[in-house]
Amino acid sequence: MVEWGGSASVELELTEKVLDEDAKNYHAWQHRQWVITTYKLWDGELEFVERLLQEDFRNNSAWNQRHFVITNTSSYTHEVLKNEIEYASKYVRKAPNNESSWNYLRGILRGQLLLNYPEVEGLCLELYAKNIRSPFLLGMLVEVFKEKATEMTDTSTRQTYLDKATNFCVELCKMDSVHTGYWNYIQRKLLAL
């Protein structure tokens, strides 16, 4: 068993060496995941991810690894989710135009009611008030207000929220003109609500 444990940590070290040179090497990450899963070397992996994100928080592979570890250990319980929202928010604030941190935040919130995590709306409004206009931020604001509209029974408040969401779409069509096809679609879906 010691021998197996020995060779497993060697494998892990090997992937770390490769990732030191090329932090996004697809095969190294895949092999690392295999070693961790097979030899149950989950301890310390989140710290490894944190180190990589501190070096380059735009490293999409590291974000993917974070999701991989949590899914296979604690899983995304309510408490863990709140923690992860705070974690991702830290990096979103650092670089509001970086897609990886937003993709992670959006990804972990899939299937969740944003109502249960008001800190998300808080983060978005805070950044918007600072005049930040990243498409990921505005895209999230559309989601926030769309959900608020669908949770509303009062028709005039519902309409106010829908209008807010639609206005963000209009803004997005202008500032993220490469993706007008997508934002037009999102806007159409809002009108169909």
């Binding site: 996004k24 899963t37 735009r58 993917n64 206009r133 490469v178």
Partner: protein, 335 residues
């Protein structure tokens, strides 16, 4: 306005080509296949049959297939098949699913499936499917969703899809779906546009596209477009012409190709042509190869360029070839 930090991208050179240099490309491919002493030709021997598939398909898309030596190709492909049914990349090289698919694609292009042992190919593919529905690439046991695509595409082209357990194959592919809506090579692996193409293609062939979250995946794919107009394969990577295929065909299969700025992408693909040698490279100014030439032409075809034949987004083969064999794969409706 605070947008945050700069994006990893390239700048298109001002004097880059802006129109399609069809004659140059067909001359390039024809010469590439003929110059068997050429350095690059020799260095790509380890994937020869795939190289032949890229060259022939590119020529057919340009309406120039007749310039290639059909007899020579068929003789070559025949010699790549092993008794187990699988094909190696060239003679006396071990068989693998990747090369088996290229071989079947070439034979379908030439309407010559009968020159090989098709039944044995089916047996070979069936032997590679695992309990969890995944596929080994060969008997050495590497698992990757690319091999799921190779298997399903091969069998579909031969009209033998039901030889394998399609439900389990679908189940495995779906287990590779990530939190961002994309797909990786194995469960847990990072989303990557090449893997997305393979997974979406496999699901399309299996009639299981409805499992995909088309809105979420469509957005992830649309985000591959950079300010230069080119597409990358995952966040914070440089654009590459081959992603004009992997990303665009995936978007086409899920009915959301219009989520890409077509003009800007076309501009990027055109700029990646080499005016002197012909052919396309991964990005403007780099060296050309048949791989990027096929995917550049394929991307342009999907964008609606009329100088190239319509290409099928699932199989990366001319649509008229699939029409000829009556193979129809339903895609998601355009939204």
């Amino acid at each position: 306005l605070k947008m945050g930090t700069p994006v990893k991208d390239v700048e298109l050179p001002k004097n880059a080509p802006s129109s399609l240099l069809l004659q140059k490309h067909s001359d390039y491919i024809e010469a590439f296949e003929k110059n068997k002493d050429d350095y690059e030709y020799c260095m790509t021997e380890f994937l020869r049959v795939s190289g032949v598939y890229w060259g022939l398909t590119a020529m057919d898309l340009m309406g120039q297939l007749h310039r290639m030596n059909k007899e020579e190709v068929l003789h070559f492909v025949e010699g790549c098949q092993h008794p187990c049914g699988g094909f190696g990349p060239t003679h006396q090289q071990d068989p693998h699913l990747l090369y088996t698919l290229s071989a079947i694609q070439i034979l379908t292009l030439y309407d010559s499936l009968d020159v090989i042992d098709a039944e044995q190919v089916v047996k070979y593919i069936v032997s590679l499917q695992q309990e969890d529905g995944s596929f080994y690439g060969d008997h050495w046991g590497e698992v990757d969703t690319r091999f799921s695509f190779c298997s399903l595409a091969c069998l579909a082209l031969m009209g033998r899809l039901n030889a394998i357990n399609v439900d389990k194959a679908v189940k495995f592919v779906l287990s590779c779906m990530n939190f961002d809506g994309g797909f990786g090579s194995v469960p847990g692996s990072e989303s990557h546009a090449g893997q997305v193409y393979c997974c979406v293609g496999a699901l399309a062939i299996a009639g299981a596209l409805y499992h995909v979250d088309a809105d979420q995946l469509g957005w992830w794919l649309a985000e591959r477009q950079l300010p230069s107009g080119g597409l990358n394969g995952r966040p914070e990577k440089l654009p590459d012409v081959c992603y004009s295929w992997w990303v665009l065909s995936s978007l086409k299969m899920i009915g959301r190709i219009h989520w890409i700025d077509k003009e800007k992408l076309e501009h990027f693909i055109m700029a990646s042509q080499d005016e002197e040698t012909g052919g396309f490279s991964d990005r403007p100014g780099d060296w050309v190869d048949p791989f990027h030439t096929l995917f550049g032409l394929g991307g342009l075809s999907l964008l609606g360029n009329k100088q190239v034949k319509p290409v099928n987004p699932v199989f990366c083969m001319p649509q008229d070839v699939l029409d000829r064999i009556g193979l129809k794969v339903k895609l998601l409706d355009s939204v």
